[in-house]
């Protein structure tokens, strides 16, 4: 009972990491995506490199970097929790940006041409014609990424964030038992079950057209 309460508390922290990461990275992904698609070459190069680094190196290493690097450079670290949020946000923004970009590129050029000939402004075309179709296109890929994020939050334990996995680990070594870890596994499973059901509903709601 005691254990369950502790794990529930850890789940609270896990959900905080999860939701803050989404709140920051979903919009930031748009900015990155815009940078990735801009015609201004220096910006595109920088954003390209950023995405390559975020996708090309282990998230675990990025977490350690954002926790320890400020200490060596500025002599002070971010609080563990916020270092984790920063690392997750920057990492997931890169992935979301790539998803947004593929969603944009899937829009047929004819949609832009029809909009132009009908006299729509660029802003109207983007917000009313392109964006709704992009959102529909990318929902499945975003769903995948969000499910991965639920599991990735466990990595925050490596820099000492007291979240679900960390608490389960501590309880395991204290009680010489793997049971707490398995219980934590059930918690992750339940969270992702809910996430995937939510995405199912969203996908169905957008299935009114093809």
């Amino acid at each position: 009972m005691q254990l369950l309460l502790q794990l529930l508390k850890g789940t609270g922290v896990t959900l905080e990491v999860f939701s803050l990461t989404l709140i920051f990275s979903l919009p930031l992904g748009f900015v990155v995506c815009a940078g990735r698609m801009t015609r201004i070459l220096p910006i595109r190069w920088i954003v390209d490199l950023y995405i390559q680094i975020m996708r090309g190196t282990p998230l675990l290493l990025q977490l350690l970097f954002f926790y320890f690097a400020p200490f060596y450079i500025f002599g002070a670290s971010l609080p563990r929790f916020w270092a984790a949020i920063l690392a997750f946000t920057l990492n997931y923004s890169a992935y979301f940006a790539e998803i947004y970009r593929s969603g944009m590129q899937a829009i047929e050029v004819g949609q832009y041409e029809a909009s132009k000939v009908l006299g729509f402004t660029k802003a109207y075309t983007f917000f009313h014609i392109v964006l709704p179709q992009v959102i529909k296109n990318i929902i499945p890929a975003i769903g995948n990424e969000v499910i991965t994020l639920v599991k990735d939050t466990a990595l925050a334990s490596t820099i000492g964030v007291i979240e679900l996995f960390r608490i389960a680990q501590t309880a395991s070594s204290r009680e010489f038992s793997t049971i707490p870890i398995f219980v934590a596994g059930v918690f992750y499973f339940i969270m992702n079950y809910v996430v995937s059901k939510i995405f199912d509903v969203v996908e169905k709601r957008m299935a009114y057209y093809r």
């Binding site: 029809a114 132009k116 000939v117 009908l118 729509f120 709704p132 057209y209």
Partner: protein
Amino acid sequence: MIKAEHISKSFGDNVVLTDISFELKKGQVLSIIGPSGSGKSTLLRIITQLERADNGTLNIDGDYLFKSNGERAEYTGSKKAREIGLKVGLVFQSFNLFPHYTVLKNITAAQRAVLKRSKEESEEKAIVLLRKMSLEDKAHSYPFELSGGQKQRVSIARALALDPEVLFFDEPTSALDPELTREILKVIRDLSEENMTMAVVTHEMAFAKGISDWAIFMDKGVIVEEGSPAELFDSPKEDRTRRFIKSFEE
């Protein structure tokens, strides 16, 4: 209505249009024929502002979209260009309906956003047009629920809803089977009977001959020959034209 003089256009080193001049008078139907890659579509796309001309002069309903300064085409300001754009409608080969909008909304969206018509007014107009296209029962369907011919009729209604002075068709039946093609050709024929000014790029020779007041044959970016349909289709002067038209009879 439309007067084009010496229009030229290249994509990089690839010359697509050379010295194109023609005139389309109010209430007339012009057909443009020619093999693929002859520049017909590019010409329509220049007039509807989807492409920019390199050189030449184009007057639409009394206003210059661009004027040659001898070396290149100088375009009018963007506000004027938008105004001119509203006078021309374009029907695409691939329909390009908005998949997330119902048929009704496909036809009302531009009326509301661009012409600032009220919801009631734009819907009324849409219903009238849908009736004309015998599609009034499809107002609340989505494009994916329609056949190709129905989609193309919706896209014609969408273009007509903005009351264009001229309507351009870019191979409107090329994506359709023969039966659906007839559907669309009938709609275009009906429009010509109402004296709608139109220019049609098409491979439907019999149709082009029957409907148009003037016909142009293009090949490799130049106008090889033009004339009344009787002249161009029945007794073409140029060997190239003759061969092209004959290739449809086999």
